[in-house]
């Protein structure tokens, strides 16, 4: 029944637009589609009914669809696919599309649209999706005729996964889904106006190599672009060959093992003192797939004031956007690093390396045990001890920073989080996508009590699919990161952050049909994590009731320079 109409190699079969879409998605190797059904997308869902090559994963809210597609893409490197109906279905996808856009995640978001003759008439569930998503996607298409489907899908996937990856929106009018047209899938895609530059300019790479040779206090600063380009091996080679200390951003964690002596850990607002001091003292910063985000640089006037800067990025518009660059290199991180590695040798910087080691030892991430409270940092340390090989999907807030600080990531795509947009509610649906994409890995979702409840409905598909997710809530009964800022900068005026009215998340998990545990005492942390390991027929939710007013340190206050980091302790 579900045989491909091409099993007999009939190249000119007439197919409905919806059928063409499904056939085209198969050609692109799509395994999963995360969708919520609705009026203007019904022909597509109908074409997916009983489909075996592509598994349709019904989510409970469209935001869950785009985050799940995103999580799948981050974990696997493949293009994630989300599907929703017109109007509210499409607008609900928007947060997930924007999240993917900010972190350059390859995704194709498909939305149904009202009949072409209704477009512009304020029809039921009509929304100008192309207009709404224009600034938050890499590109978008409105399909008004079924014969456009194959070409658009081929282009959309090509654009989503090449160059600087990103989400592409395909909006399909309902009549274009229903009408039949001859189907032919293009063998290749050539877009005259889109030619991403992969290879870096050899002259610029030689200049970079020369600067690296001359530097006395060089540092590598790698970001999410290294993960996206699958350039982790090349980055490791560069680091080990030169012996130059390296800091990896929130988006790049795992690209270089944080357990290595040269690793200075994450830089920026809640980064390590070592990385931040290194920026301040360095004479050469080599940025690779990192974009000098304000959360990394702090006050730009005080950022790496003595350093020459080399910037390797696939996106020319990213270079020189925030910081003046001495040697810009536009190209794919993997290709550029491969060339650069041929031209560099061991750097003669023993004094600088010794300085880095001193900072590392003097200012590690640390916290104080307060009374008999369960400290959130302790929970993360224990999660790391129990699940060091797991894929960790974090949400946004204090728990995200603690996870980034206390879990030592060693592999790329091991750490998934919404770094750019900072989308609360991202992690549970993203964890579903990651687990489906990587069925042999353990997926740990570290969540906050505020963020968890924003997309809690996605526990339903996780249970239905029997996904063995480990959902760990760092519950401090506050919108913790905002509370921290209120404590430090708003005179403790805790406006709209008190979450003491949270439900009992363990009982709530049980009501959904998952295993739910509640941990209130330090001595129960390890046994609970151990118990969670043994549950593999569905999700387990552990609600860790932690110290309520613990703050994330170190901290570079917004607008301050990296050298002005508040260490927190001592």
């Amino acid at each position: 029944m579900n045989q491909s109409p091409f099993s007999n190699a009939l190249q000119t079969t007439e197919l409905s637009g919806a059928r063409s879409l499904v056939e085209s998605l198969k050609r692109e190797g799509v395994e999963y589609i995360f969708g919520v059904n609705g009026g203007a997308a019904m022909p597509i869902f109908d074409a997916l009914y009983g489909e075996t090559d592509i598994k349709l994963i019904p989510m409970r809210h469209e935001q869950g669809c785009s985050h799940a597609a995103d999580g799948y893409a981050r974990a696997t490197g493949k293009v994630g696919v989300a599907l929703a109906t017109s109007g509210p279905g499409a607008t609900n996808l928007v947060t997930g599309i924007a999240t993917a856009y900010m972190d350059s995640i390859p995704m194709v978001a498909i939305t149904g649209q009202v009949f072409t003759h209704y477009i512009g008439s304020d029809a039921f569930q009509e929304c100008d999706v192309i207009g709404v998503t224009r600034p938050i996607c890499k590109h978008s298409y409105l399909i008004k005729s079924s014969d456009e489907v194959a070409d658009v899908v081929a282009e959309a996937f090509h654009i989503a996964r090449t160059g600087k990856p990103g989400p592409v929106v395909i909006d399909i009018a309902k009549d274009a889904q229903m009408k039949e047209a001859p189907y032919h899938y293009p063998a290749s895609v050539d877009i005259r106006s889109y030619k991403p530059q992969v290879h870096g300019d050899p002259g610029q790479i030689a200049k970079a190599a020369e600067l690296i040779k001359q530097a006395k206090r060089p540092m590598l600063y790698a970001g999410g672009g290294v993960v996206l380009a699958d350039a982790s091996a090349e980055l490791r080679e560069l680091t080990l060959k030169t012996g130059i200390p390296i800091t990896v951003t929130l988006m790049g964690l795992g690209a270089f093992p944080e357990t290595h002596p040269l690793a200075m850990e994450m830089p920026g607002m809640h980064g390590s003192c070592c990385a931040n001091y290194a920026f301040t003292d360095s004479d050469l910063v080599v940025a690779i797939g990192a974009r000098f985000d304000d959360r990394v640089t702090g006050d730009l006037g005080k950022f790496a004031p003595n350093a020459k800067k080399i910037h390797i990025d696939i996106d020319a518009s990213c270079i020189g956007k925030n910081v003046l660059i001495d040697v810009p290199i536009v190209g794919d991180a993997k290709s550029v690093l491969t060339e650069l590695n041929k031209q560099v040798g061991r750097a003669d910087i023993d004094a600088w390396r010794a300085q880095i080691q001193e900072w590392k030892q003097k200012y590690p991430f640390e916290y104080e045990q307060k009374g008999d409270k369960v400290m959130p940092q302790y929970v993360i340390e224990q999660i790391y001890e129990h699940y060091s090989d797991a894929i960790v999907v974090a949400d946004v807030g204090q728990h995200q920073m603690w996870a980034a600080q206390y879990f030592k990531f060693t592999e790329p795509r091991q750490w998934l989080n919404s770094g750019g947009l900072g989308t609360m509610g991202f992690s549970l649906p993203a964890a579903i996508g990651a687990q489906l994409g990587c069925p042999d890995k353990t997926v740990v979702n570290i969540n906050g009590d505020g963020s968890y409840i924003m997309t809690i409905q996605e526990l339903v598909p996780a249970i239905t699919l029997k996904l063995p997710l480990k959902i760990f809530i760092i519950n401090n009964m506050y919108l913790g990161m905002v509370r921290q800022w209120q404590e430090l900068f708003h005179g403790k005026r805790y406006s709209a952050v008190d979450y003491h009215d949270n439900p009992d998340f363990a009982m709530l998990a049980q009501a959904f049909g998952a295993t739910g545990l509640r941990v209130e005492h330090v001595e129960d942390v390890r046994p609970a994590l151990q118990k969670a390991k043994g549950i593999d027929d569905g999700p387990v939710v552990i609600d860790f009731i932690v110290a309520e007013e613990e703050n994330v340190f170190p901290m570079v206050p917004a607008g301050a320079g990296l050298g002005d980091v508040i260490r927190g302790l001592s």
Binding site: I130, G131, R134, P135, K138, H139, S140, L142, I159, I191, R192, S193, Y194, D315, A316, S317, I319, G320, K321, L324
Partner: protein, 167 residues
């Protein structure tokens, strides 16, 4: 340190796919990133699949570089040229409807002649002129003609082209 804040005017020639929504993408890029558009002109080229946009903007060197890069980043943009980096020709066209009583007409026509304006419409008490030229010429013409009372004015954005043969 010397504070160099050289706000310069630049004219970009942008070749784009002649396709639904392209203008919105370009305009949205400027509004979304806080860049300025002084004028924008769009029309099909001799190749009907390609449109030409002439975009006048201003900003310091870093902003201009960002505008150039972000325009290039749009999928539908085929080619971006900053015409201000080379010698170029730029033209605008203006239609001016003047209050012109019969006794003023001869004088107005004399002024029009100086600016090589063409009369495109005459009515008992009004006169409509068409003038092409660069920005300075049009501004001068408007200043002089305003003495007679401008009833209505419509001005195109700039179009521009590099001199000589392109590679």
């Amino acid at each position: 340190m010397e504070n160099i804040n050289s706000d310069e005017r630049h004219i970009f020639s942008v070749l784009v796919e002649n396709r639904f929504g392209v203008l919105a993408r370009v305009a949205g890029l400027f509004s979304g990133r806080g860049f300025n558009i002084d004028s924008l002109n769009v029309a099909e080229t001799h190749d009907e699949s390609i449109s030409q946009m002439t975009l006048v903007t201003h900003g310091d060197a870093q902003i201009i570089e960002q505008i150039y890069q972000h325009l290039n980043r749009l999928i539908d943009v085929i080619e971006v040229t900053d015409l201000t980096t080379g010698t170029h020709v730029e033209r605008e066209l203006v239609l001016i409807k003047l209050s012109a009583e019969p006794h003023e007409r001869a004088e107005i026509l004399q002024v029009a002649e100086i600016f090589r304006a063409r009369v495109v419409d005459v009515k008992p008490t009004s006169l409509t002129l068409e003038i092409t030229g660069d920005e300075g010429k049009l501004n001068a013409a408007i200043e002089v003609l305003d003495i007679y009372g401008i009833l209505e004015l419509a001005r195109t954005g700039k179009i521009a082209m590099l001199r000589g043969v392109n590679d």
